[in-house]
Structure formats: C-alpha cells, structure tokens
Symmetry: none
DNA sequence: TTCGGTCTGGAATTTTTGTTCTATTCCTGT
DNA sequence: ACAGGAATAGAACAAAAATTCCAGACCGAA
C-alpha cells in the first residue's frame, strides 16, 4: 500500500498536517507529534532509538506515527525534516563570506540581482511581522462563497493575476482572468453578477483600468477582495476585504515576492475551504 | 589511536583545514576534499555509500579521508558537518513564538500563508548560496546584444514571462511575449532571426509548447537563455546560457520569488548594459 | 463487569550502514 | 626497466539501525 501519495513532501506542509491532526491522534502518537514540532532538528539528525529516548517513547511509536501520517516508514518522514535544513536561511556572517567568495562586488549585474533578492527578503520579513491573518481568513471566506472569481490585475500586477488564473484552474476553482486583450476588459466585466466575487490587485501608480473595472464589479453587486499597498488606494474603498502588502523597492522596481505568496495562499485556501463541504 | 585531539570540532575550522591540506593529499582523497567543500549538505545527510557514489569514489576512500584529517571514523567527521546545520536552527523558536503571537496557529489559512512565505525565503536564501553570477553576466551579454528578445514562458512560468514583457516595455527594451493565445505561438516564433535572442523559462513538469518553441528558436539561429530548475531540463541543452533556479515547494506549489528576482535583474541589467553605449 | 477493539511496550527480525582487510594498481626514485 | 612503498578498489564483516510482530494493557460501550 503506497499511501505515500498523500503524505506531505515538504516541511511546512507536514507541519500543518501534524498541527491539524494533533487532536484526533492516540495519546502516545500525540506526544510524538508535539515533540516533532518542538525539536525538528532532533528528528532530522537523530536515530529512531535516540529520538525515542529523548521523546520518552518507544521506537515503535515513531514508526507508527510515520505510518499514521501516510509515510512508508520513519526514514521517509525524516527525509522531510532533513529537507528543511537543506534549504536553510543563511545568517549574516555567512552571507558576508559568500559575497566575498563570489566576488559579486566586481560584477554589475551581480549587484543588481543581490538588490532584488534582498528587496524580496525584506518584503517577506516585514509582511510577516504585521500580517493580518484575520483579513486573509475573511478574504478566503468571500472568495470561497463566490460562484465565479474575476481576477483583475493589469500591467505590473498582471503576473499575479495570471498566476492566480493558472493556480485556480489547476485546483478546480472557477475563475476568469480579466485581461486587457483587445480592450475586452469591460465586456468581460459586464457579466459579473452579485453571486460572483472580484479579486483586484493594484499598486501605485494604480492602473486606471483596474480601478474602473473594480468599480464596475462593485456596481454590479459582486463582493470585492483587494490586494493593494495602502488604505488610501483607489481600490481600497470599494473592497469588502482589504489585504495590505507593502513590497520593498529596488531601483524603482517593486518586488512581487510577498504578493505572489499571498496569491498562492488565497488559491490554495479557497480550494481547501470548498473541499471541506 | 586517539588522534581525534587535533581534528577540528567546528565546521569553519574543518573547512580551512581541508583547504589547507588539499594540495598534499593523495589524488582520490583530494577528490573527496573537493566534493566535501562543494556539497557539505550531502556529507551531513548522506550515508557512506550514497556519498561515495555521488562523489564517484569508493566508500573506503571516505573513511581514509576521515582518518587523514585525524578523526576516528567517518561518523565523527560527519558530525562536524551536521553541527553546521544545527547551529542556525535557533531562529525556529522565535518563529514559533511569532506564530503564537499572531494567533496564526488557530487559523488554517494563516498556516498556509506562513508556509508560502517560508518557502519563498528559503528559495531566495539557497539561491544566494549557490548563485552563479558569471552565468547572469553572460545572460545579460547575450540579451543586450539581441535585436529583439522573445520571451517564452507558459503555464506556471507565464507570470514571469508577462512580467518581463511589462518591465522591458517600461525600460525600452524591444521584446515579444510569445503567448499561447489562439495557438499563435509557433506563428510568432517563425519571425525569429539569428540576430534575436530567446529567453525561455520552464520548470518541471516542462510545458511541451515551451520546449518546442525553444527548439524552434534554436533552429532559426537565435541565441538562447534558459531559466530552469536543472541541467537535465529539456530547455537546458539548446541554451547558450543556463540559469539554474531551484525554487522551494509548499504543498506542491513552487515559489516564484527567486525566479521573479532573476527576471527583474535581467530586465534592468540588459537596459543598463545598452545604455552604456 | 465484561466484551470488543484499539493502543502500547518491548523483544525479535531484517535491513542498512560503517568499517576493516587484502589483493591489485599506481607511482616514484634509482 | 624495475623494485619498493603508498594508494586504491571491492568484497567481507561486524555493528547499528529501522521495522515488524505479538502479548498484554487500556479504554469505551453494552
């Protein structure tokens, strides 16, 4: 039985899986779950025997725990914990050493790349600090309740909208990408009904078409979720739910890393919410 | 023989020790030394057999190498490589605390968002670690010398291609987005000349149209720059310049953070290079 | 209280892993 | 060209590991 199919292959997914099932797990297995979340590096490096001793559990409990999560054995579970350390975030000293090693200083494009990478990291880090998870939850509620989701994002935000279109298609969530091809945007928007929702994405300087289309969707009675950079944004006012994302700039170019992560989250969470029913 | 005394106990010391002795080491042992410095993660997690295979060396060579450095056996050496990864797991607790502060633990979508944010951060960090800035420079050279840049990226990679189209438009770099609209991809591609260049973006599972279009561009004599996830990728072979980006996954969804930063860099650097003349 | 089923502990079993050993190959100096 | 010594490959071995198994404990329902 290769139930390995549904077992998470990456650490974060595994974490959520463990957290989600912690309640309905047998006593000793729950104990293992708690230990795994608290000491992930012990799981990554230890042996079944050493981990079992440290968690005050029998070795067999670890194997049972692995099976309960859908893995073929403990080793498979351990591999996921190891993958987490393989792609670890560097500390400051290492980054400096790296800069020296790579001689990035001598390369113009290396500096540019480093700038963009750093802008992306900063965006993600600062978003983490002040993120409003309640807003995300409400956005998921609104979108999960919609019949069709209209994706409104042009120019700079078009990559986000097109990604959402791709991801929702994969996940079986009905959506329509309102693109500007042949100036058909307003045509597409005219089919919006109050049962639908619009997901609008726009950053300063706000594309006028995006603002207009969002307003039109509002007028036609659809719910609106806006992803934008401030409460003063023209697409903030008509929104039922506002997700604020402050992306860092580098040489006038805005990182899209955080916005992309938010987009992925909405797509996956909406699909998840719907499948719960 | 407890010559273990003088063997380095921390990774940095071991690194310098290996680098220092690399010259006067026997051939096969020098090969091991080079491998160890290049793939420390492999040493940390692999088994003697797997590492030996990957380094194209006999298992016994690894043991001899360990002895040569003053360790009692391979396991002792491996422990040092592992300690390097243990050290920076410290920020995990902080992150957990952060999760609790925000009350994210109680919110499903919060966990999902955190997963995507973390995947993005890890992608960026690991890319920084092994980034080949020479490849970026060559890519900029090729693209800056092209008359028209054809952007080839479909499905999952389409957001990247569409972003490049937007950014290059803003920067005054002539580019054509080869999109799949109305199946016109091959039509558009048929105008490519040897003076042009193609920038192809594709990740596993590689969209067949992307592969076909890239091959067509190559046939027509254009230079090719490929952004992909491995040297085994079908768009790696026809490429003049290959940029490898290994994005982290979360629940099967690939982060696009790093790829997006690379795309921004190419657009900005190409524009910069051209304006120098 | 008793029955049914699940869960658990610990030993037995099987697989994997690190290490050692020796015949052979490859150098190097004469 | 050849001896002598170091280095290497590959198999054999012993140790350690993961996994399986089963008897008994535990828990909830009747």
């Amino acid at each position: 039985m290769t139930a390995t199919q549904d077992a998470p292959r990456d650490y974060q997914a595994l974490r959520t899986a463990i957290a989600g099932r912690a309640g309905d797990l047998p006593r000793r297995l729950a104990q293992v779950a708690a230990y795994a979340l608290e000491f992930p590096d012990e799981i990554a490096f230890g042996t079944v025997a050493s981990i079992a001793a440290s968690a005050e559990v029998q070795p067999s409990a670890l194997v049972r725990f692995s099976h309960a999560l859908g893995y073929q054995g403990f080793s498979e579970l351990q591999e996921v914990f190891r993958s987490r350390l393989r792609e670890r975030v560097l500390n400051y000293d290492e980054r400096l050493a790296q800069l020296r090693d790579h001689g990035i200083a001598g390369s113009k494009s290396g500096l540019v790349l480093d700038g963009f990478l750093e802008a992306s990291e900063r965006s993600i880090a600062s978003f983490r600090e002040k993120l409003d998870h309640a807003a995300i939850d409400r956005a998921v509620d609104v979108l999960a309740g919609a019949e069709i989701i209209y994706l409104i994002g042009l120019r700079r935000s078009f990559p986000i909208a097109s990604y959402l279109s791709y991801a929702m298609g994969k996940l079986g969530v009905r959506s329509i990408l309102v693109d500007g091809v042949a100036g058909m945007g307003s045509e597409q928007a005219s089919f919006i009904t109050p049962k639908d929702a619009a997901l609008a994405i726009s950053f300063a300087p706000y594309a006028s078409e995006t603002v207009a289309l969002t307003g039109a969707a509002r007028t036609r009675g659809a719910s609106i979720v806006s992803i934008t950079d401030s409460v003063m944004s023209p697409i903030a006012a008509p929104a039922d739910v506002l997700i604020e994302v402050a992306e860092a700039n580098f040489e006038g170019f805005r990182s899209l890393a955080t916005t992309m992560a938010v987009a992925m989250t909405l797509a996956v969470a909406v699909a998840g919410r719907r499948s719960e029913r």
